[in-house]
Each structure stands twice: as structure tokens, then as C-alpha cells.
Subunit: 503 residues, 2 copies
Amino acid sequence: MLKHVVKMRPNDNVAIAVHDLHVGDKIKGDITVNDEIPQAHKIALVNLAKGDAVLRYGVVLGYAKSDIQAGDWINETSLELPPSPDLNKLTYGTNIRKDLPKPKRTTFMGYEVPGNKYAGTRNILGIQTTVQCVVGVLKIAVDRIKQELLPKYPHVDDVTVVSHQYGCGVAIDAPEAKVPIREIRNIVKNPNFGGQIMVVGLGCEKLTPDRILDPEDINDDNLLYLQNYKGFEKMITAIMEMADKKLAVLETHRRTEQPLSKLSVGFQCGGSDAFSGVTGNPSAGYASDLLVAGGGTAMFSEVTEVRDGVDFIAQRIPDQPNCNKLVKEMSWYDNYLAKGGVDRSANPTPGNRKGGLSTIVEKSMGSIAKSGTAPISQVVSAGEIPTKRGLIFNATPAGDFTTGPMQLASGMGLEVFVTGRGTPYNLQAAPVIKVCTRTDLKEFWSDLIDINAGKVATGDLTVEELGTELFNFILDVASGEKPAAERLKLYNDICIFNPAPMT
Amino acid sequence: MLKHVVKMRPNDNVAIAVHDLHVGDKIKGDITVNDEIPQAHKIALVNLAKGDAVLRYGVVLGYAKSDIQAGDWINETSLELPPSPDLNKLTYGTNIRKDLPKPKRTTFMGYEVPGNKYAGTRNILGIQTTVQCVVGVLKIAVDRIKQELLPKYPHVDDVTVVSHQYGCGVAIDAPEAKVPIREIRNIVKNPNFGGQIMVVGLGCEKLTPDRILDPEDINDDNLLYLQNYKGFEKMITAIMEMADKKLAVLETHRRTEQPLSKLSVGFQCGGSDAFSGVTGNPSAGYASDLLVAGGGTAMFSEVTEVRDGVDFIAQRIPDQPNCNKLVKEMSWYDNYLAKGGVDRSANPTPGNRKGGLSTIVEKSMGSIAKSGTAPISQVVSAGEIPTKRGLIFNATPAGDFTTGPMQLASGMGLEVFVTGRGTPYNLQAAPVIKVCTRTDLKEFWSDLIDINAGKVATGDLTVEELGTELFNFILDVASGEKPAAERLKLYNDICIFNPAPMT
Ligand SMILES: [Ca+2]
Ligand SMILES: [Ca+2]
Ligand SMILES: [Ca+2]
Ligand SMILES: [Ca+2]
Ligand SMILES: [Ca+2]
């Protein structure tokens, strides 16, 4: 059976066209289509009077400018916009769901890391860098480590250079330098590195070890400066000797059964299309709900994308301090963009409107959909490690290759990435599961996509069924199964977010 | 014979201690040392009355606060500072040198590139990227290109991915987005890529081809989008097929004798120490003078480092328009740093003072020294391609791994990097020559340093002799000889300068 429309929430009065709808088509059995409605656009499910609220995702997208009949096309010309959310007048705690769906599976096979809030999903030697200058030497050293040392340690999954473009030539004491420094500092602590600290620096960089390591971790067992070694060969030897010791410790680690409270999953969407908010993100949201109900941690992010749905985020925050933190983070970003001369009123773009996104609220709700329906237990700054479990809003930028490293810093053991257009993005430090929004992308990129949320649009699966399939795959991957991009060894750079000046 | 002090310019009234000087030591034959003077600090060569100008690099570092005797230590406590240079009151054209030293060698063996202002020093396939998302796939493709294709093309030096962290998740229409976009656009045109354009994109990124390619270059022969290929293997095949065609063209290229007017050299310093401005940079400056006198192009950069010597730069600019451009670029940077909350008054740092740099002017003059004494024929924005030849001031940031890619964008065929503390920094797209400032670094890093400017401090060579040695090595490397870091294949990332917001 082919469904023609998707309704997102029980009280919605519009649905989304899965294919182009034509005048006279029947949907939901009894509604006749009155207009030519493009794929992914909205159709009215009931008669609406002028001034009535138009509801999608259970929220008000706008108010009917004139009377609307069931079967009519609803687009940006049909809607009076709701007032823009004022950051200083947010209401919190009005939408706290208590009856989250419970997952059947409540454990995964992970690597316990003493002192770490989370368990690792992989057992990786992560060689951290203080500065880009050392990367050339490190790349050669890591090639040799992989060839000469890694075969001795069959229980270690991989060796990676956490190389970045920060560390020197930057305003290290500028107010916003705290953002990249916190990110690098916390990436060192990611559970997938098994608690082993290995940092390679140059020796004259601005990013000194005290900025990224705890005092007790700053010692010659963990930290190596190239300027202290007599030439290239000695550098390589020193790096390999330190790596050998760290690998020997990692080799003793084994997967053990871990409760979901030891798992942190980052959710993201990118290369989005009109179905991201219809199939992929809602399914990811259901998986997120299951994870949270089971005691795990789910992070969502992407400040610029969710900004115009901020009031719906606030409603899911139970307490004033976290609502204040949300306001602070959103205000910081508003100010950052304004200072850089960015025009926020350009949203939704003409492309978005053509894709069926009539208002900025609708666009934001599509992104927020991947956070499911759970209450938000904590709002954290970009790259901060949460102190709570449950659903976390991690206030990072929205760029596909910027958010992931930020979530790594916050403790992410694996990432779920929902994509409409398709991206081969992946991280070496944590597996990335790819969820596509349309069946044709799954068929086109069969070797790059793990989960096809397009089945929701075709009616083959419900959001709940697809979300459960994704949840189970998350636990499989957390336990060692390799998603497509990990099998192919597609690794992106660690792209650090630096809002402070370069010097 | 061991010299004890180095005098920078004929009319200087101070010199620099090569080693710690002790009370009673004799220097320059007839001057007796009156104080304990640390290495790299200044000693008075003549008696000075209160208010007399103290001259180093031929410029006023400050005015004597009280009477000074020949042999006295001069440090920050001895000097009344000259007024800070006002960008709106710069005088240009007052120091235009006409009698530059002429080089004996006037050609090199380079790769002529039709339509390019400069000749290549290498014959490299540079695979450009529009966005970080594609880098994972490209790294695998390039490994295969190197193994399976490159051996067929013995006249091609290398294949490199010009990978960067820009392209999406950025405010692409923000006013300052022009900086990273210009940089990427012009890197594509670097002469070392032999005029062959190969760009790999994803398909939904913000950095569209029209932003980085000329209209006539946007076609299927040059541009490949991963989203158009049915899965990973097809992507790899497509990349390899395009690379094969480009490599076949590059294979036909041969080195031919080129005039110096076809050579552009970027000069930089990093990991600087107290001798950078005494030995390494002045020697680089002499090589720069020879290159300019021979009709070539020498670029110097590093706005934040030269900022406080801006009036001495202006004096070497013959014309009003380029002086105006200098003011505009410096003002832009002042404003950029101020917006980011950077405190410029932190210079010179306590470390700088301890190293003998008494004033911000002295610090700047050390950096400017690598530009030699030639008139400045053009001031260009960061990443802009000069329209003139000769000495170019390229207004880039000063970070070691930021300046190089910017100079690549401006057409640099090779880089000269002066280092005090030592850095393994290198680029894959252009060879980098390492000049060290002290003999002990050359001995310590014998396999990483090409030219030892420490011989100037020990009196084994004059600045002119060492500068000539460097000039000759520049031409050898431009003609194909490999400097140390190229032999070792130490490659840093292409770090793009993006002063606009991330979104
Ligand atoms: Ca610790
Ligand atoms: Ca997104
Ligand atoms: Ca994203
Ligand atoms: Ca410098
Ligand atoms: Ca530098």
C-alpha cells in the first residue's frame, strides 16, 4: 500500500505530500485534493476558518489568512506568521512528557573506562595534538604505528591523529578562545580513547598543556614535544615508543555488558531535504526517546537550525537554570552572527520554500524532530561534557563537520547522521550511522547508507517501527558492528569551532 | 674568530650580543662592556645624551631616558617610546632604495604554465575540494591514484588533495566570507598545479563552483560531484578517471629555463627567537633583495607582527594607492582583533622582553627584516594574486600554518621559512625551505633544517654571504632540488583563514 501523505502528530491539521498530489486525488480515504500540491508540501486535513492555527509537529506554523478547505494546499502565502520567539520571554516546563516508550534492549557491549561517565564503543589510540605544526610528522609516525605496532595488539581497533588547525597563530586569551580550547580539552577525554592520554606538541605553541590537560595528566608519560628531539628519526622513535606503551594498555581492554546509562549518542542532520523533517528526523527522534527512556544520553545540537523553534525547546526544559542557559547560548549565537554581518532573515530560503518549508518555525521543527519528545535534562555549551544523562541540548554550530567533533568533545560514543541529499561524512574517533530520508537514496548509495527512513514515507514502516530499527542498530554499532562509512574507512578531519580571532 | 655583537645597519648606534656579555669584556675592539648583558640584548656602541634616538635596523626604537655610555646595556627601562604610528598619518615614499644588489643567477628551471603569471616549481596534480565532506572519499581515492596511476607518469611529482575545513556550515554571504573564498579560488590557480583544474564537491554545499572557478572552467571535465555517483565504488572510479586524464596532461610538462620574473617566493618566520631578527630574517631579506633586483617576486606577510613597524613599511611604498591599501588592510585587522576582544597592548610579551625585544617597534622590525630593503611594489589583500612583480606585502595573518596557504593563493611557487625554535611545518603543494637562526638548532635538527643562518652570529658569514647562499638554494629548489621537509614528506593541512561566522 502506498500512502500519499504523512501526518506528524495526532493533533496536526495538515499532512505532508509524499508525492506530487493532483486535483481530484483522494487521500486518507475521504479527503479530495483541491490543488496541484508539490511533493513534501502541506495539505489541509480539516476545514479551517480565517485566523485558525495551522498545526504541524503539534505546533503552530502560522494562522490561516483566509478560510481553508480540507484538501487545500497550504504554503507560505496562506499563513500569517506567529510572533518571533523572544528569548527573554520563553516559557519552560509546559511540555514535559512522562510516558516515554520503553526500549526492549537495555544494555550494550562497551568498553568501561575508569573515571569516565560513558563507556567506549571503540578501543582507539587517539594521539592528540596541541598544534597543527606537528601533523606532518605525526602522519608519518601513525602510518608506521599501523604497520609495525598495531598488528601486535588485536584488541585495539585503530590509531588516529586528533589533528586540528588550532593551537597557534590564534588569540589564545581572547574571550571566545574558551570555545576551541574546551573542545580540544574534552575530545582528549572521549571514552573511545580508553582513558589513555597521548599528546604530541611542538614546544613553542600557544596551546600549552595546562590548557588542555588536567594537572595530574601533564607528565612525560603522556606528553611529547618535537622540539625536544634531535631530528626527525628521533621524533618518530619517541612517538612510536609512547604509542607502544599506550597500545599495550588498550590491548587489555575488553567489551563488557554496559547499561544504557553508559552510552552517549550524538544526533545530527545534514544535506537535508524536504523529507528530513518527515521521515529521517522523526525516526531518529523515536530512537532518541527509547535511548533516553532506557537511561542513556542523547544529544542534539545545531543552534542556527533550531533557533526559530526555541520556544518549543524551552517548553521541554523542566527547570529555570537550564532554560536560562538555553537563552544565554542562543543569545551568544545571535550576537556572534550579528557581529559577523549575517542576515538571519534570509530563512527560509527560496529553496526551502520550494521544498515545502513555509516558515522558519517549520524549518526549525524539522531539525528539532530528531530530539524526539523527551524532556531536556540539560543544556550545555558547545563541547561541554554534560553532568546529567537523558536528552541534552548541546549548543553547537550546525555545520555537518563542525557538530560531530563538538559532540565528540561532549562524550559522544557514536553519532547518528540523518541525510537527505547524502554525505560520506564520517569520524575516525567514533562510528557514524547514516540514516537516509528517501528510499531512492538508499538504492543509489546502497554501500554508504545504513538505515532507510524512506520506508516511513512509503508506509512500509511507521516512525515507531523505523525508530526501533534504528535504536537496535545503534546498540549493535555501540557493541562493535561497523556501519557503512566505518567499513569503508572514510574519515573526516577534526574541524574545531573557533569564534575568536586568528592573529 | 668569534664575534660578540651583531650590528644590523650602518647607522645603528646599538648592537646585539651574540652571547652573554660580561662587565669588562671588549667588543668591536675598543668598547668595554659596562653591564652584565644577556644574549640577544642590546649594547650601546656610542655615547648617547638623554633624548637621543636609539637606532636599530636603522630605525628609532625609542629615545634615551638618560645619558648612556658606549658599552651600556639598553633595555625597555632605558627607552622613552616613540609615539605609536597613526594609520591615518603615514608617510610613504621616503625610503625608496634604488641600488639593490644584483644577483649573479637570473634564471631557474621551472614549469611554464600557459596563462599563469608564474612558472611552477613542481608538477603536481592538485585535487581541489569545495567542502570538507568529500575528504574521506578523496583520501582513499588519492591513495589509489598514487599506487595505481602515478607510476605511469614519471614526470609528475605528486598528487595532493587540497583539503580544507571550509565550504559549508559557514556564513557564505557574510561580508568577510570573501576572504576564505578568495583564498580557495586562488589556490586552484597556483602554478605548481600546472594549469590543470580538478575539483571534487559533494553537491549540496554552500561553496558552489561559480564561487571558486572562472565560468569557462566550470564543466564536467574539471568538476565532479559525489552526490551524482551511485555509491562509493563509482565515486572512486570517477575520481580516478578524471585524475588519469589530468595526469596525462601534466606528464607532458617539462622544466625549461625561466627568468626570475616567473618566480614567486613567500617569506615567513615562525617559532621565532631572539636571533630571528638578527640572523635568519636579515639573511632572508638579502635573498629577497636579490630576487627582487633580478625581476622576481618576493612576498612578505604577517600583519599582526609587522603592525607596529607599519610606518617603516609605508616609507618603502612609492605610491599613494598602495599606501592607502596598506592602511585599509591594517585597519581591517585592527578592527577584527578589537571585535574579538584581543588586547594588542600585550606586546612585547614578557618573553619577548627577556629575549631582548624592548619595544613593539623592535619586535616588528625583526619580522620586517625578512623583506629586505627593496621598495614595495604592491600591497595585496590576504590571498589576492598580485598584478605587479617585485616585493609584495601580502596582508595575511601571522600564524605559521595560516600564512603559507595564503601565500599559495597569491601564487607562491616556494616558501622560505625562518625558524628559531624549529618547526617541521611544510606544504605538499610547494616546497618549504627551512632557515634556522642559530647554529645549535642546525646541529640538533640536521635532517630538518636546510640553511643555517647562525653562521652570521658566529661571524663565519656575513648577512650578504648567507643571503646569497639562501638565494642560490631558492633557485636550486625552484629548479627541482628537494629541501629537507620535502624529502621527508612532511605535509601540513591547508588551513584556510575564515574571519566570517560559522553557522
Ligand atoms: Ca584526569
Ligand atoms: Ca541539520
Ligand atoms: Ca548539520
Ligand atoms: Ca613570524
Ligand atoms: Ca608566522
